[in-house]
């Protein structure tokens, strides 16, 4: 193992033969923390120029935040800059995430969906949280729930998130609590929109009126979003795949042309 690790190091770290002993200790610590031999080698294969000691420091810090070795590796592979962060920076970010309700148990889940969570600028996180609270009027508990279940929102443009929320709230008439429960923000917008408009044009979905009433029983947001195409068509839309395929093409073209029109009228 030591041999393999040694080979993966950049020349500047192997020049000094006495380093061999230190390296041995370092590898042992990683094994003690639960890293397997392969994982240790993988860890050292990342950014060979980086000092061996730094790897241990970052890995230990991430484990303190509640990650397991496989999640640690996942983060480091997908978001290499984390390896260059100082212990202090990591601690601060850990604290911030804890405040947002993303501690131990949830963090594993979150980093798998949003590996850059540690390197994301703090401002970006704040902006997303502010958008949900101030523009979309979610409660802080709901915001935390969204971050836990859909951490990818942290990577999105706030204006896109706002538009997506408004679509669910105004166009589909879905309440805040159902938006949160359904994992809405994890679903691709084109899928949501084409399924909703398809149902609507088939007469099977209605935007509730001012009193919140509809003449048909709307399907739950969760089902609209997460059923497979096959089940969506069989259970909700009662349509053939052929019809739905043509519909998606037509809707995409409608949308494209609307955008063109908007652009043209802006030009005038």
């Amino acid at each position: 193992l030591l041999e393999a690790v040694w080979l993966s190091l950049a020349p500047e770290h192997t020049r000094d033969k006495t380093g061999n002993l230190a390296l041995g200790n370092l590898v042992q610590s990683l094994l003690d923390m639960g890293f397997s031999h392969t994982q240790v080698v993988q860890l050292f294969n990342l950014q060979p120029r980086l000092a061996p000691q730094q790897r241990l420091a970052v890995a230990s810090e991430l484990m303190l935040l509640g990650l397991y070795p496989n999640s640690v590796l996942h983060v480091l592979q997908r978001s290499p800059n984390v390896l260059r962060m100082s212990v202090k920076q990591l601690k601060d970010r850990g604290e911030r995430l804890r405040q947002l309700g993303l501690s131990e148990g949830h963090l594993k889940h979150v980093v798998s969906r949003c590996p850059p969570i540690f390197t994301l600028p703090g401002k970006k996180i704040d902006a997303t949280v502010r958008l949900f609270k101030e523009k979309c009027l979610f409660t802080m508990d709901q915001v935390m729930e969204i971050l836990r279940s859909c951490p990818n929102v942290l990577l999105k443009e706030p204006s896109d998130l706002e538009y997506k929320f408004q679509y669910a709230f105004f166009r589909m008439g879905v309440k805040h609590k159902d938006v949160v429960k359904s994992g809405f923000f994890r679903a691709p917008f084109t899928v949501i929109r084409s399924r909703h408009v398809f149902l609507e044009r088939r007469g099977l979905y209605q935007t509730p009126d001012k009193k919140g009433q509809t003449q048909v029983i709307n399907a739950k947001l969760k089902e609209i979003i997460w059923l497979s195409d096959k089940d969506f068509l069989a259970q909700l839309a009662c349509a053939s795949l052929e019809e739905y395929d043509v519909f998606k093409k037509l809707l995409a073209r409608e949308e494209e042309e609307e955008e063109e029109e908007d652009r043209d009228s802006e030009d005038e």
């Binding site: 007469g203 003449q215 349509a239 052929e242 019809e243 043509v246 519909f247």
Partner: protein, 324 residues
Amino acid sequence: MNYGMQFGPLWPSARVSLLSEPKYGALVNNFSWGGDVVRDLQGLRAADFIYAAQNGPAGAEGPAPLSPNIQCYTFPKGDICRFPPARPDTVGILGYYLMDAASLLPVLALNVQPGQLVLDLCAAPGGKTLALLQTGCCRHLTAKDISVSRIKRLHGILHSYLPKAARDNVSVSVEDGSNWEQVERDVFDRVLVDVPCTTDRHSVMEHDNNLFTRVRKKERQQLPMLQMQLLVAGILAAKPGGEVVYSTCTLSQLQNEYIVESAIKMAETQFSIDVHVEDLSCFRRLFQDTFSFYAECRVGELVLPHLTANFGPTYFCKLRRAQH
């Protein structure tokens, strides 16, 4: 009136189609000298659905009673391509006319034969008039419409699609076709009565219950009456033994089967004219690859729009006036 009840499980598919982009067919202009019109259309991978139907398995049952020489190209089922605008030939005549391909079914059903006198009672803006002329069979075609502005459009189409010589045996006039006193009686071999109707494509709105709120209410109430008067006028204008096709672009039973049945009764009681409904069920077999037919009409045939073939709605029913 609730289409959900009328069409049951077929309604959602029709509804989403009405609210989505319709499909067009390219009616080939046989008067154009371009020569390569057909080649261009084939190059787009469109096919003449009328030719295909007659030469397909359903066509093998023997020649169908169709108006001849009409060619209309459409894209295959499920294909959402559009035709480019038609180009003029060397003398400025356009090569094809874009229209709802299902609108040709009433014209095909009229089964115009060489040398016949034909009346197009509600002709403007003229898509079906143009199709009738493509048959090359009309000894004379009389086209009427009540609307001055729409008649102007009809003239425009005739000018863009017909050389002067071909326009000579067409007479166009602004007239109220429902006026029984004025119609020439017992004259025409073939009469097309393509009545004004509620256009479902524009009126299906968010809620089925206010399906027609957008249409002015007074007009709506008078519409069935007008439709029946027009059809009776068409029957009166036909020769004994002549054939009349009634058509609409609505799914509404009240404006379709019900009008046909009332007009037949009316012709009998008021004018002692016997009229028979001709069976057009062969159309359903013949054109099943291009259109989605509704098989349950009491009389006549109805094309329901379907996303994979978003043509229609078109209702058509053929009547034959008894010999005496």
